[in-house]
């Protein structure tokens, strides 16, 4: 089935999110769409799926104009979509999520999930998905949730499958699996629109590439183009994809973690007897598949976890037992995994978010009286320093795009005297331009003699930044390896395979 978009335009207030976009996806084609954060990719796809009404333009399926007003129209036309933000009800089981909207009832109106279970099992087996229909979504790793989304699209016979940043939260292994599945689907005649910020993936599977910038199609490219070419098309300038690690001096031990064990409320160990140290001027990456305890280790560095044993020595003094605030002020910068949930207060001003941690200290406050002018001046300063693209520092931080939000978090965390930078998934969901900035910034910190503890599920990122790499598996550190390892070796380690 082919899909064609003609002259799609959509504006949100003054912002033109899609500017007469034309796009054609042929039957059995994987068509990648590239673009910076906020370029308008998701908006376009939501229009195709009936979630957003276009101002202008038409959608053709197999060269017939379709009037898609509701998601149900899209579904009926054979369009399926895996959304950037998951469309799964966390408290439902896999089967419940999948039948939602297509329910079958039996005696006395009782919901009949058996047929769905069968079909889920079938699809799951076919693609090696390993999904149990009766698992609760909220208990599943994101990778599995992603598969559930794909199963749903397949079960309902999507002939055109839209995948909006499906790999943003996947591990390398999972990503590779997904890419394989995409190829398999393509063989079966499914057309796929694939949105991602990862150029490697595009080059691996795409047949054609369309690039969108500020709501406009700015060009197409073939998968043979180099990553650098693609990146500069997207951003409109030269981008340095692999940061130059450069030579740097490694100093004394800054952070020493011994016997770190973290339990959940009933006493099950989520992290078990973890030991490592980070030296000044060194980047230690902690790699691993999501859900193997990295998040807990990261959060425990600033005492955000409750049941912690062992010791975390920062520059000779114990961190455990301190309050979050004391840990931060002891010299730890903390970039949390989710900037939206834990990093920023969406409805508060950008300027306020920049001093969340220091708001009650001079010069921002005298006693309990705050000094708004100082806060503003500081915000302007940091805006320059971190190149935060914004209209006004008084705007709520929720008005920023992902990359700029992350810059706000970094700008705040790096404004204190820092000995250790703890960064958790610092580039998740960011476009290449923003990633470049974040990476550069992390290396600058390292070069300035700070210890950096980087938690990432991105192989490329880990390999590009780390001096040493610790791989976590099932709550334990499986191995600590030098940065020279290959991506393949690392991938195997993350899957729990240790070589002799």
């Amino acid at each position: 089935m082919s899909l064609e978009l003609r002259g799609i335009s959509k504006s949100f207030g003054a912002l033109l999110a899609n500017d007469s976009i034309d796009l054609r996806v042929e039957t059995g084609e994987i068509h990648a769409i590239l673009g910076e954060n906020g370029a308008g990719k998701s908006t376009l796809m939501n229009i195709v799926y009936g979630l957003v009404a276009p101002d202008k333009g038409e959608i053709l399926v197999d060269d017939v104009v379709k009037n898609i007003k509701e998601p149900s129209d899209a579904l009926a036309s054979g369009i399926g979509m895996v959304h950037q933000h998951f469309m799964l009800v966390p408290v439902f089981t896999v089967a419940e999520n999948i039948v939602l909207g297509h329910e079958k009832s039996g005696f006395a109106g009782i919901l009949d999930l058996n047929e769905a279970r069968e079909r889920i099992k079938k699809v799951s087996d076919q693609f090696n998905f390993d999904v149990n229909p009766d698992d609760l979504i909220e208990g599943l790793p994101v990778g599995v949730q992603q598969r559930v989304e794909i199963i749903r699209a397949l079960i309902y016979d999507a002939k055109v499958l839209i995948l909006d940043e499906p790999t943003a939260v996947l591990t390398p292994q999972e990503t590779d699996d997904l890419l394989k599945i995409m190829k398999q689907l393509k063989e079966d005649g499914t057309s796929i629109i694939f949105i991602t910020h990862k150029l490697r993936e595009v080059k691996a599977v795409a047949d054609r590439i369309t690039i969108i910038r500020r709501g406009k199609v700015v060009g197409t490219a073939s998968p043979d183009a180099s990553q650098n070419e693609l990146a500069s098309l997207m951003v409109g300038r030269e981008v340095e994809l692999a940061p130059d690690k450069g030579a740097h001096a490694i100093g004394d031990v800054v952070l020493k973690v011994e016997g770190l064990t973290i339990r959940d409320a009933v006493g099950r160990a989520l992290v078990n007897n973890v030991n490592f140290e980070v030296k000044a001027g060194e980047v230690l990456a902690i790699a691993g598949v999501q859900g193997n305890g990295q998040s807990e280790v990261a959060r425990s560095m600033v005492n955000l976890e409750e049941h912690v044993e062992g010791s975390i020595i920062l520059d000779g003094s114990e961190v455990i037992g301190k309050s979050v605030r004391e840990s931060l002020h002891a010299g730890i910068a903390f970039v949390p995994e989710s900037r939206e949930l834990d990093g920023l207060i969406g409805s508060m001003a950008i300027a306020e978010n920049l001093i969340l941690d220091l708001h009650d200290l001079p010069p921002y406050a005298k006693g309990i009286q705050m000094s708004p002018s100082v806060v503003l001046a500081e915000a302007e300063k940091r805006k320059e320093e971190f190149d935060i693209r914004l209209q006004s520092v008084n705007d709520p931080v929720s008005s920023l795009s992902g990359g700029n939000k992350q810059k706000v978090v970094l700008a705040r965390e790096l404004s204190r005297p820092v000995k250790l930078l703890v960064a958790s998934q610092p580039t998740r969901g960011l476009d290449v331009g923003s990633i470049e900035f974040v990476h550069k910034r992390i290396l600058e910190e390292r070069d300035a003699g700070r210890a950096v503890l980087l938690f990432s599920t991105e192989l490329d990122e880990v390999l590009a930044l780390a001096d040493r790499i610790a791989v976590m598996y099932r709550g334990e550190i499986l191995a600590i390896v030098p940065s020279g390892v290959t991506a393949q070796e690392l991938g195997l380690l993350m899957a729990g395979v240790v070589h002799a």
Partner: protein
């Protein structure tokens, strides 16, 4: 996963508290009690089949007996907890034992109509149950319902007036849901179509209903009392055979039609919410409306419908005050029960049975204080009146803890404005 384990920790703490209380009640009510008086438990209310008419036992012995039972039950519960099994039955027996141990002590030399105590608890919780079921319907689909009080009051007013004007309890019963529905239509229109903050809205609707009913009460119901406000009441209907079952019969099966409708409402809501297509969709729009929309569910239409049904349920509960009780409408006669129902809803974690249990707990505490007050306690009556409220606070802080509402509860849904 976190939420679950926190619940387990809380359960363990609850078990500790229960065990300590069990031991204390054995000691204080049982061992150290001096009175040589008997306590009499009565088990019959009417002409039901008699299993046991009365049970006379030394107060001290009874307290000791129930105390020991509760200690044993606590121990069993601990073992089951260790083994990772459910502790519902054991802890139920444990807390009932503590309760009975206390009661046997408090009622030394007195008569406790055991069946009546429970029947009264049920009757006092009827409006709370209706109210909280309305809350379940509305909030499970994502619309916060603070207007329960107003829905109850509107139901009470309209059913009282109509029954009085038409001399028909049936008509009174029929219009009550419509009155509740009218209020919830306002709630639905403003909350869903105009996206107005639902907490403001609920409050305002309550004030509005208070204002209108107070106004009309003074302008019409008082001056023209004999036509406007002297409605008939529903008689109790004995369900053949069932009502004869000892203890259970008079409590459950010798009630007015409204109470039977209530059973129906509870079972129906519980069944539909968890077993049917409507229930799945309702829970989906309450948890993740965008997801529901993306699979073709008409989110706002479903919400609208559910809020209207919720109003009907609460309105029917309102009829319990007038045609189901005293006939005549009395100014502000719901007396804040809508807010207690709201508390029961939250306390019961937005589940039908949870809310029912919370409402029953409140009703029980309320009736217990009344019965104990009648047989005489050294505690001032004002403090006795605090009992149900304090019991709720203690239960909430001690045993319930953090609760999680449906994720999208209170958030209006507009397509394309998610996040």
């Amino acid at each position: 996963m976190k939420a679950l384990s926190a619940a387990e920790r809380r359960r363990r703490r609850t078990l500790f508290v229960m065990a300590i209380l069990a031991v204390l009640s054995t000691l204080i009510f049982g061992l150290f009690q001096k009175s040589g008086q008997n306590v009499t438990y009565g088990f019959t209310l009417d002409k039901e089949w008699v299993l046991i008419q009365q049970w006379v036992i030394s107060s001290r012995t009874a307290s000791l007996l129930f105390g020991v039972i509760s200690v044993l039950a606590s121990a069993v519960a601990f073992l089951q907890f260790r083994a990772g099994r459910t502790i519902g039955l054991a802890s139920g027996i444990g807390s009932a034992g503590i309760m009975m141990s206390f009661l046997s002590w408090a009622a030394a030399g007195k008569f406790i109509p055991f069946t009546g105590l429970l029947q009264g608890a049920l009757l006092l919780s009827v409006p709370l149950i209706f109210g909280s079921m309305a809350g379940v319907l509305s909030e499970r689909s994502g619309v916060v319902n603070i207007a329960i009080e107003g829905q109850l009051l509107a139901g009470a007013f309209v059913s009282g007036v109509v029954a009085s004007l038409t001399h028909s309890t049936f008509l009174g019963l029929v219009v009550a849901p419509l009155a509740g529905c009218l209020i919830s239509t306002l709630l639905a229109v403003f909350a869903i179509n105009f996206s107005i903050d639902q907490i403001i809205l609920g409050f305002v609707l309550n004030v509005l209903v208070y204002g209108i009913t107070d106004f009309l009460y003074k302008k019409l119901l008082i001056p023209y009392q004999s036509t406007w406000n002297s409605g008939p009441t529903l008689a109790a209907i004995k369900i053949p055979l069932l009502w004869k079952i000892p203890i259970v019969g008079p409590i459950l099966f010798d009630q007015s039609i409204i109470v039977y409708l209530m059973y129906g409402v509870i079972f129906f809501i519980n069944f539909s919410l968890f077993k049917t297509k409507w229930g799945l969709r309702t829970r989906a729009v309450g948890e993740h409306p965008t997801a529901a929309d993306s699979v073709g569910i008409k989110v706002n239409r479903l919400r609208f419908m559910n809020v209207m049904i919720a109003g009907m349920v609460a309105g029917l509960g309102g009829a319990y005050f007038t045609v189901g009780g005293v006939g005549a409408f009395n100014k502000e006669m719901t007396a804040g029960k809508g807010f207690i129902a709201l508390a029961a809803l939250i306390f019961g974690r937005w589940t039908p049975w949870g809310a029912v249990s919370a409402a029953l707990l409140f009703g029980f505490a309320d009736n217990l204080q009344s019965v104990l007050g009648i047989i005489g306690t050294p505690i001032p009556s004002e403090f006795m009146l605090m009992v149900p409220y304090l019991a709720t606070v203690i239960a909430v802080t001690g045993f319930v803890g953090r609760v999680r509402a449906p994720a999208a509860d209170g958030t209006p849904y507009k397509r394309g404005e998610s996040h």
